[in-house]
Each structure stands twice: as C-alpha cells, then as structure tokens.
C-alpha cells in the first residue's frame, strides 16, 4: 500500500502519554539513524562531509608543504555577508516549512470536515426521510459511506477501490462509479438523486443540499492542495540557498575545528537539511495522513448511526 511515513497515525490517549514523557528526548536521540528524515538525507549529508574532508586534506597537504607553495589557502573567515545570509536562510527555511505545515493542517481539516458532514448528512437523512423509505435511507447511508473511499482513491495512487467498496455498493453501482472520470462528483450526483427521490419538503431538502455543497468544497480543497505545490521558485531558491551555504561552511570551519569540522559539517548539514526535508514531506499531505483509518472510522460511525437507528431505541423513552 501507499504509505510514505508510518509516523502519521491516529493518536490514542496512550500515544499522548508516551508523547509527553520526558524520556522522549533520549528515545528521539537513540533513534536518530533510524529516522526517515535522516535516511532520505544521506546523499546530501555525505556530499557536505566529503567537501569538508577534501578541504581538510588540501589544507593539511598545503601546510605539510606537499603541495606547491603558491597554491592558495581555501579557508574563509566569517564576515558580514555570512551573518546576514545565515539569518535570512533560517527565516526562509522555517517559513517554508511552516507553509507546508499549513497545507498539511488544511488537508487534515478538510478530511475532518468530510467526517463531520458525512455524519451530519446521515443524521439528517435518518431524521428527515419518511419512515417507510427504507430503501432510500439505505442508499443514502451506503453512498455516503462510499464517498471517503472514493475521495481517497482520487487523491492517492495505488488504491484497490473496488475491493474497498465491496459490501458497501453493489457490483452494478461500482461499475457505474468506476466508469466515471471524476468519481467523487459521480457520488455526489448519486446522492443528489437519492435526495431528489425522497420527496422532501424543500426546506429540509435545502439542508441536505447544504451538506452536499460542503462535500464539493472538501473534495475541491483536497484537489487544490494535491495539484498545486508551494511555488517552485520558492522551493528551489530555498534549496539552492541552503546548499550554497552548506558547501561554503566547511571552508569556514576548518580554521577553528580542524578534523572535528568534518563531524560538525555533517551534523549541521543534517540539522538544517532536516528542516527542509520535513517541509517537503508534509507538503503533499495525502500520502502521509492516515486516510485509510479515517475512512474506516467514518464507515463505523455511519453504520452505527444507521443500523442501531435511534428511533427504535427511543421508542422506549418517554416521548
């Protein structure tokens, strides 16, 4: 299945307890080499470390007179330009990562909204549809259950939509659905038909239609995030800025730290590249959010709302 980062999962109270433990610092440090961020950054970190080593070897050879004496030193002093740009680089990097975080959180909110509104839509259908319209009620619930699965398949690669919809829609319905190009729109059109068939008071029908509009906004919002990255020029300039900085760094470190500068180069490269990498990882949020769990939760909630239809139970209650 398509799941880039196993760290994004639905949190329980037990997860939060672990999350808050002071021992987290030790755990995080211990697992540093196992972290996805570190592993995906091995190439650029290696490059920076290599440059640092070359600077060290060159300077050592020069000092030991094993290179022509007129060859120049390559170490650089620190100066105003470095200070200014260090500052601008940090700001640029953290702002870019924050924009990516904003996209990730918006995607999460859109799925949250999909969760709330599917529940709301089913609650309304059960309260508004006439009691004898059993078939229509069931159709409304089942197509609403199908919606998040269809949206997930719309946003991610490599889904097995047909097997996921087994037990929700009939074979014929799945065929009609998968025949459409824009499948989420097809589901909404189907739900509009169900609502139209229920013959409701226009006032109540309007309430249901409001939720269908909310679904359109969720779907469109997800598509917007998926189809439009942060402007490439922004991403590229940040990336170039960072690399130029990391490439120049070893030249400024040698004088003060000699061979330790190799270690420090690698370390600083990891710390700074890591900020960029987090941003890039969460910029496309649908690969990292646990959409599968969301769909399953929605299905569970809606099935409970429908099958344990409160009407039956409330019959016992005093009104």
């Amino acid at each position: 299945v398509y799941r880039r980062n196993s760290g994004h999962r639905v949190f329980t109270h037990a997860d939060w307890a672990v999350h808050r433990k002071p021992s987290r610092y030790a755990r995080h440090l211990a697992l540093i080499f196992a972290s996805r961020i570190f592993r995906s950054l091995i190439p650029p970190i290696t490059a920076v470390t290599l440059i640092s080593t070359l600077v060290g070897v060159y300077e050592t050879l020069l000092k030991e007179h094993r290179l022509p004496a007129q060859w120049p030193h390559v170490t650089l002093a620190l100066g105003q330009g470095f200070q200014l740009t260090a500052f601008a680089l940090s700001l640029l990097l953290v702002f870019r990562t924050n924009s990516a975080y904003g996209r990730w959180w918006e995607a999460r909110m859109l799925w949250g909204s999909l969760t709330n509104r599917t529940r709301d839509f089913v609650r309304q259908c059960l309260a508004f549809f006439p009691e004898d319209a059993k078939r229509l009620r069931e159709a409304a619930v089942l197509w609403t259950i199908a919606l998040p699965y269809v949206v997930k398949a719309h946003l991610r690669e490599g889904n097995r939509l047909e097997s996921e919809l087994e037990g929700i829609l009939t074979r014929d319905e799945v065929d009609a659905l998968t025949g459409a190009t824009h499948r989420p729109c097809f589901v909404l059109a189907a739900l509009s038909q169900v609502v139209a068939a229920a013959g409701l008071d226009p006032q109540l029908r309007q309430r249901l239609d409001t939720n269908l509009t909310a679904f359109e906004d969720c779907i469109g919002g997800c598509e917007r995030i998926l189809r439009t990255p942060i402007p490439q020029s922004y991403t590229r300039h940040t990336s170039r800025f960072l690399m130029i900085w990391l490439i120049m760094m070893p030249f400024t470190l040698w004088a003060a730290y000699s061979w330790v500068s190799i270690l420090l180069s690698g370390l600083f490269a990891y710390l700074m590249l890591g900020i960029d990498e987090i941003g890039v990882q969460i910029e496309e949020p649908f690969g990292v959010l646990p959409l599968g769990s969301f769909c399953a939760t929605i299905e569970r909630n809606l099935r409970e709302l429908h099958y344990s239809n409160p009407e039956a139970r409330f019959a016992a209650l005093p009104w």
Copy 2:
C-alpha cells in the same frame, strides 16, 4: 480525576488583577522549582549538567597532567555553524510551540462554540416549540445539557460519565446512551428525534438543524485535534536538534566560564527545553482545559434559561 496542569482554570477579575501585578516577576522566579515545567524537565536538565561536569573534570585532569598528554582537548570554539543553527533552532522551537498554541486555542474556541450554540439551541427550542409541548421542551433542554458531558467523556480518559449524567437523563436514557459506540453522535440523533417530534414549521426546524450541524462540527473538530498531533517528524527533529545543541554546548562553554559553565549549562538547558515542554503540554489541549468547569457552566446557564422560563416573567411586561 484527570487534570494534568492545575494552572489552566477559568479566570475571574481577581485572577486578572494578580496576573497583571508587577510583583508577578518576583513570584514567578520564587516558584521556579515548584513549576510543573521544571519538574518534568529534571531528567534532561540533569543529563546536560552531567555532561558539563564531565567536560570540566576531563579538562581539569588534562591540564593537571593526570591524563596521558596526547589525549585531545574537547572544548570547541564557536563558529559559523553554531551561529546559524542557534538561530534556526530558536525559530523552529518557537514556531512549533506556536503551532501547539494554535491547537490549544482552536480547542478552546470549539468548546466556546459548543457553549454558545447549546445556549442558542435551547433559546430557540423555548421560543419555537408550542407552549403545550412541555415534555418535549424538557427533553430538548436535558439532552442538550447532557451533550457537553458526553463530549468531555469522549475526549478524556477516566470520566465517570454515568454519575455525571445523574439528575440529567433517566436510567433508561443513560443505558441507551452508553450502549452506543460514538456517544456524541447518539445525543445528536436523539436531539434530531426531539426536533422531529415537535412538528415545527420547516423554516424554524431548519434553524434548529443548523445548530445541530454546528454541534457536529464542534465534536468533529475536537476529535481531529485529539487524534492528530503535529507531524511527528517535526516534533522529533526539533527535539533532536535541541538535544544535539544542548549536548554540544558544554564543550563550548568551558573555555570561557570554567566551573560556572556547569550552572550555565543547566540554566540554558532549562530555558530552552522549557519552550519545547510548553508546546508538548498544550499540544493535546483536552487534558489541560478545564472542561469540567465548562460543562458545569453550560448546565447552570441552560437550567436557568429553562426553569426561569422568561415567558412567565415576561407575562408581567407590557407586551
């Protein structure tokens, strides 16, 4: 009971007066060792202090020639890499804490919205329901009072929901409720039934339904915050960045401060780790917000709205 941080309570004018007093600085300093933040950070602060002591002992033994002379010095000069990363670290830390603050404030707003809309819903029921529907009015008010308690139990561990609902719902109603998996949805379904039973004009019914949708959004919003932490990769990288920094710091402090650097290491560790810790504490806001007080306030307000039904009192007024 489950209350992680006693500092989060409902503020009164007297609290604000204390909050603004210039003497707060002295008070905060005096209570530093009693603070929850400090106490939960004792392990990592101790670790940093220990490293600092070891650096001091090693360098002293080396200087007094009680270690082999060829063993290297371990102190580090400051340099460009440190400056750059110091800056990036501060930004990362403060931005992460700010995102956690954003979550905390959103949770507070969702509960505020729950407060407003329960009041609004009861106001509407009392104004819209026919005068003789005493039983339905009461059912509407009582189930609305139950809602925040049920949401609280949904968001927190270790609640005694059944005892809290005593005096609000009947034994039968509580049993039906606790039999459901998603209890807040059950309450909304029950309220939908009450509204359906009132036989209102569809226009007025629509107004009530709008508030039920608002309840769905509050509940779903809270679940979203509870189930989804800030991306773990972000949290972990910040935490690793901070620890690497704090571990390297003692090596750079010894040359300038000798034994005072042990004190300074501990102090700087406390100040920086504290920022991270605040963020982690408020990232899951439902354990720290005074949800119990919120529920009690809502209950008090709704009961007043209902029992001192203005209708009776307004009878005396000239319209």
Copy 3:
C-alpha cells in the same frame, strides 16, 4: 470607573493626524517617564539596576583590594549560550505579545460585530414588523439598545448597570433582568419573545433569528477571552526567562561599560520588560477597550434608526 489605560479611546481624524506627525518621536520620548508602562515596571527595573550597582561595587572593592583576594570575580564573558538564548527570548517575548494582540483585536472584532448586528437587527425589525405593531417595534429597539450595556456589565467589574439602563428599560424590566444570573442570555430570551410575538412569516423570522445567533456568538466569544488567559505555563516561562536574563546581564556588562552599565542595565530592562508588559495589559482586553463609548454609539445609532423612522421620510420620495 474601571478604565485601566486611558490610551485606548475611539479615534477621530484629528487623532490620526497627530498619530502620523513626525514629531511623534520627540513626544513619545519626552513622555517616557509619564507612561503607564514605565510606571508599572518601576519595581523590576529597580531590582535590575540594584543588581548592576552591587556588581559594580563588588568588582570595584575587589579591584581596590578591599575584599579578600581569593574572592572570585563575578563578571561573565559572553558566549554561545547567551547568544542562543537572547535570540529565543526575543522570539518568545514578541510572539507572546503578538498572541495577546490577537486576543485584543478579536475582542474588538466581537464588539464590532455586536455593533453591526444590533444595527442590522433593528433595521430588519423596522422593515419586517407590521406597521401597526408600534409597541413591539419599540420593545425590539429598546431591548437591543440594552444588550451592549448588559454585555459590558457582564465583562467588567464595577458597572452601574441599573443607572445605565434608566431611560431604556422600565423599572419592572430592569428588575426582571437583574434577577437573572446570566443577564445577556436573558436579554436574548426577551428578544426571542418579542420576535415570536410579532407573528412574522417564518422566512423573515429566520433572518431575525440568525442575528440572535450572532449575538450569542459575540457574547460567548467575549466570555471565552475573559475566562481563558494565554496558558499560564507560557506566560510564566517567558517571565522567568526574561528575569533570569536581566539578572545575568549586569554581570556581563561591567567589564565593558563599568559604571555606565548601571544606566544601561536599567535601560535594557525597561525596553525588554516593556514588551512583556504591553502583552499583559492587552491580554484581558475588556478593561482597556472603550466599551462605554461603544455602547453610547450603538444607542445613538439605534435611536436614530428608530425615531427618525425612514418610512415617514420616504413617504415624500417617489416610490
């Protein structure tokens, strides 16, 4: 009366002209010792200045050999830790003050919304209520005028609500109102009764009800801000961070500035503590916003809308 900061008042064009004058810099500097911020910070500024003086006296005595020679120097060099934390402290301080500003501006927006919607509600009542319902129209206008006064009394201490409502509500009405625990809710219940009594088309009644819901949201939003400060752990850590910094500063300043460092300590303490103090002052906005002026403006507008009822005047106009 309860007015913490006379600087918050309703601005006129003349105020803006003064506000923009280049001479503002001179004026602000001249009034520095008269400023509320400065006066409320005298205790901590004095403390920092005193520490600075003690450092100076101690170091001078030591230098002049009037103290035992083995007593240590207490001045500190600057180093990495200071630089890192200086940066983090500034960020923490300015972000916290910005969050307080966000609360203040939200409170202002809620009162702005109360202003807009009371005008809108009265506009609707005058357009929707039947022409002959003079008494109901008047009741709607007067209770709407009462609303902001009641909300103000709900948010501030030491109001004389009864005298403020004189000339708006009758004695009986004021008694019924002040008998309620949650008075703003009582006013909304009363307005709901007035609307119910008007016998409107449900469609138009719905429009009025939408504004009543908007009132509930304004009231609840204000209560939320009043009852919930920025997390205390955040405020306290910022305050501790700042004080630790200011206490350590004199030790680092003496070497470079000798006796001038006393002046500089006080000055830097004022500048940094001032940022914190502004945040604390506006964190509870209802004591500093000119709520009295807002209420008076709303009353003036609504009375004009009502008494100079356009209907009469438009009679002369060609439609």
Copy 4:
C-alpha cells in the same frame, strides 16, 4: 482632495510590468530623496545625524586636548545588551508593521466585499423584482450606487458628497440622506424599504436581506478599523525603543568609523525609521486606498448591469 499617498492606485497590467522589471532597483534608489517616507522622516533623521556629529566633535576635541583631560570618553563598546535588544527591536518593528499591513489589507477586503455584494444585490434585484416594477428597480440600483459614495464620505474627511451624488439621487433624496447622522445606515434603511415595497416571495426577499446584512458588516468593519488604532502602548513602546536605540548608536559607531559614522547614522536611522513610518502610514488605510476609484468602478459596473439589462438582449437568445 484628501489623498495622503499617491502611490496607492488601482493597478493595471502595464503597472505590473513596470513593477516586475529588474530596473526597479535602480529606479527606487534614484528616487530615494523624493520618497514620501524619506521626506516625512527628515526631522528624526536630522536629529540622529546631529547627535552623531556632536559625538564626533566632542571626541575629536578631547583627543586634540582642547577639552579638560578629565572629561570622559562617550563612545560605547558593543555588548550583550545591544545585541539582545537589536534583535527584539527588529522583531517588534516588523511585527508592528505587519499588523498595520493586516489592517490595510482587511480594509481593502471590506471594500472588495462591498464591490462584490453591490453587484450581487443589483443582479438579484434585476432577476427577482417583477418586470413591471421599473421604478423600484431603478431605485434599488441608484441607492446601491450611492452606498459606496456615502461610505467613503463616512470614512474620510473633506468629501463633497452632495456633488458626488448628483445624477444618482434626487435633490430630495440627498437632503433626506444628509439630514441623517449615520448616513450609511440611512441608505440601508432606504434599500430595506425598496425591498419591502417589491412584494417578493419571502425566500427571495431573504436572499436580498442577506446582502444588506453583508453591507452592515462592511460598514461596521471599516468603522472599527478607523476608530481603533493598534494599541497606543504598543506603538509608543516601539517608537521609544527605536529612538533610544538610534540615539545610542552614534556613540557605538565613532570608534570604528570616525567621521563616516555621521553618514552611517543617518542611513541606519532612515532604514529603521522607514519600517516604522510605513506601518504608521497604512495603519489608517482609508486615507491611502483609492476609494474614489473604487466608487467609480462600482458605479460603472452597476449602471452597465442595469441599463444594458440582459433581459432585453437575451430575448434574442434561444431560451
């Protein structure tokens, strides 16, 4: 007329092309002394330059022994306090300017909303009003055209409202309007009357009323921005912080730059004060936004919608 900053105008594609040209850097530099910001900052910049000159003269006289030898040097070394506060000052300054930008952009959005909703309101009137209600349609369009002019006169000083409304409202209507204290409210009351007179289906009337509520929100939002500046304590502290910094700066610059420090003082003062000045200029946005152009655009659009009533033209179309 009242137009503080001619730089704020409605942008065309040609303006954008100029705006993006790389030659902008040269143009901006060349026009530095002509810039409004620079000219309004001449007094404080002169003051800082003067202080710098005095420091230079004093130190030179001292060095040349033309002043009593026991007189002290006034130059200051840089140190921790300066570094910390430099950082905090920049943050404070840029955040304050950003808040002012937020206000400016909100004002622009409110006028944008006024533009959209006047168009929407007229579109609805033309589609909803019965075909034979020619007079009412015209009244609706003309009063809607009048609205932005009235709002502009409400927000700015020195408007010639009566001449602006010539050709829109009749003499009688203008008299009735200018007789009101709160004129935008009067226009909305008039529009409410027009809508009430049209005898529409309540459902459609509700749609029109929603736009009237949107107008109330726009008007109230503008008033809020106009009447409430950023808290004065914030503005004043930033201004004092900046001035103290700029006054101390010449004392720290002399040692390194001698007479060049006069030039540098003036330059740095210009750069830093400029940030503050921009914020102050856009904090009250209604003097700088091209409200006149906005009103003219709205009028042009609405007249086109009305006079070239699509109905007539669509008659030719196949439905």
Copy 5:
C-alpha cells in the same frame, strides 16, 4: 500566450515523486544559471559585483602606492548598525515575500472555489431543474463552462476569448458577451436569467442563487488581488534597504576576503535579491497560475456531469 513562469503547473503524483527525491538538491544546484530568478536578476547582481571589483582595484592601487597617499581607505569595519539592520532587512524581506505568498495562495483558493462551485451549481441544476427542461439545463451547463474562461480573460492580457468559447456558446451569445464591459458580470446575469426561467421552488432557487453569490465573491476577490499590489511604500523601502545593504557590503568584505570578495558579493547579492524577486513574481498570481489548465479541467468535469447524466445510468440501479 501569456505565461510568465513555466514552473507553475498542475502537479501529478509523478511530479510529487520527483519533487521529494533527495537528488533534488543536486538538480537545483545544477540548474541555477538556467533559473528564471537568476536570469532576471543579472543586472543588479552585475552591479554589486562591479562595485566589489572597483573596491578591490582601488584598495590594491592604494596599497601599491599608485594613488595619492592621502586618498582614504574605503573599507568598512562591521559594527552594531550593520548587525541591527542585517536582522531587520532579513525580517522585512521574508515577511514581504510571505505576504506575496499569501496573495498567491488566496488567488489559488479563489480559483479552487470557482472550480468547486461551478461543479456544485451544475450538480444542483441537474437535480433541481424539471426533467423536460432540456434546453435550460444545457444553457445552464454551457454558460457555467464559459464562466472560468471569461474570468481568465478578465484577469490576463492577450487571451483569445472568442476562440476559447467556440463550441461552448453560440456566435450570438459570444457577441452579446463580448459587447459587455464587465463580462463576468454579464455571465452571472445570464445564469440568473436561466435560473429565473426554470420556474423552480423558491427554496431551491435560493440554493442556486447562493452559488451565484459565491461566483461574485470569487470574481471580486480576483479583481481585488489584481488591482491592488502590496503597498508600494513597503515594496520600495524593502527594495531600497536591500540595495543600500548590497552596495555597502563589498566595502566590508574586502579586508577579510580580498579578491574572493568579488565572488562572495555576487553570491550574496543573488541569494538576497532572489528572496525579493520570488515575492515580486508571485505578487500578481494570475500570470503564473496555470489558469488555462484550470479552465480545461472545469470544462471536462462539467461536460461529464452533464452528458453522462447520472439519471440515465441510475435508472439501472435499484431505487
């Protein structure tokens, strides 16, 4: 055609995979001289490099006594002023670019909203319009398809609107449309006519009208962004600040780096100017967003919704 930056295109899963590859750092570095940002910055970068060269030549001639000995050195030490302003400059630059990003993202959201709501509008028309109103349904769909093309032509220069509308509207309709000054408003008026002609229940008509209002808001929002740049004083001050800084930089670099400072000057100029340039590029977002693709996607979706009208297909389904 008018497309300023080919980097902004609709992203696919394959694009995201490339976007996340660690090899992106190497790719970005390799393409640095081909980047649009770099190429448009050649003039100012050249200027800074030239100044740096002149400083080097002058100082070298002076040192080699080929210039009069009394001619002064032009190199500058770093000092407080530089540090302070470096910091403020970075903040100003990054905040301005972030505001531009905010505008770009808002524009993207407005087009996203246009996408969602056109789909929603067509879904509603197909569900609400009577079955036999074939012609009206088609008119609704086709005019809705025309809307984004018309909005695009309204926001960009150099469109061939007439050829784009071929196959969507008839010759007569296109003529009527292009005869209007404000064409998007004309389309909305046409859609209002179609809705009015459908003779719907007012409740359902209201739902459609809500989407027409949403279209008005999208169009007006885009116009607002197009017609109003970030305040020119802000842009110009940032630009001047940056240029003054870059011009002074070579004077401070020579002492430490001698001839290498020419390279460093150019590099730092590129890195800092690049941040400004990104902001300027995305400040007017309609030239860089792939509006053409958006229009094509909307057309495809709406045509599918219409021609593969679910009604027909659902006939086979069991309700």
